[in-house]
Symmetry: C2
Subunit: 156 residues, 2 copies
DNA sequence: CTGGACGTTGACGCAAACGTAAGCTATGCC
DNA sequence: GGCATAGCTTACGTTTGCGTCAACGTCCAG
């Protein structure tokens, strides 16, 4: 919510993203850090940071990181989470929960709860912004008025 | 924009707030730090912090701070600025400019510009939030769907 | 052999707005 | 005398999400 919400990449969620995937460790299903960075428009630093925060845990080829489809899916969820205003730690909680997958039902319910919470929060923020806008517009009107007075007084 | 926008205190702007005041240094027009803190619902720490940032510069009675009506008016503007999303440093810029008061016309124009900028920013944020809300609601729908499937499958 | 391209691990920096001690002073009141 | 109240200063801590060096390792084309 700081600068830009790059809606461009990291497209929408599909039901697919919530389904488990057979972890295909074959060659073409692996990505380098650069691959993912380009694909999702984030920096390498960002991906390493996410790893540091245990949001994504790629395998290694020696020192080099190797991301699977699953990692990629998680990244997608992380970015989607950010877009809708979750903090990374909140996202982590949900992902961790996701990993427990006790048949997933409980997990989905919890996630659903958080989503609804977040919806409330965003609705609140929206209202705050609307209030601020109202106030600002009123102020602009007031100041504009003053300005006209002053300019007329000056022109007199 | 972090937690609560305490709309309660620190009421709206009046044209008065943009007019210069005769700095009345008589007794009843002075406030202690506690006075202002109570009146505007901020902590002493906050007021000292603002002073540190040169937003307000109260006089002293020995060590103790003494705020004039003018200081009070500035505080009011600071809080209003915060409410509508300006950072303290932006607010400082505007206040500084205000102090130049080259007949105030230039000042008012500049402020007007900033206000309009801020309006654009807020409108943008509002749109972002609306997008996030849309995405979240869609996700909730998807997940709810999955959940129903799962539960039915489980009940079979 | 050399210069890029790509990758690695630290680790400090930053912005915003105060919170939170810690410890001292000054004044008033009973 | 003694305590409460109000105020003072200094200064480190917090939170979030990376940016930005620094200082190297590795591999490939030319």
């Amino acid at each position: 919510m700081t600068e830009k919400l790059s809606i461009a990449q990291a497209s929408a969620i599909a039901a697919e993203d919530f389904a488990g995937e057979g972890d295909d460790t074959s060659k073409s299903n692996m990505f380098t850090i650069g691959d993912l960075a380009r694909e999702f428009g984030v920096t390498l630093r960002t991906l390493r940071f996410y790893e540091d925060k245990n949001l994504i845990t790629p395998h290694r080829d020696g020192l080099n990181r190797l991301y699977t489809r699953r990692d990629r899916a998680r990244l997608k969820l992380v970015l989607m989470g950010k877009r809708v205003g979750f903090s990374l730690s909140e996202i982590k909680d949900m992902l961790d929960l996701y990993d427990l997958r006790d048949g997933q039902v409980t997990q989905l319910k919890v996630a659903l709860g958080k989503f609804n919470e977040q919806i409330s929060i965003l609705e609140r923020q929206k209202k705050d912004i609307e209030q601020a806008l109202t106030e600002l517009r009123r102020t602009v009107a007031v100041v504009s008025g003053l300005l006209k007075e002053k300019e007329q007084a000056g022109a007199t």
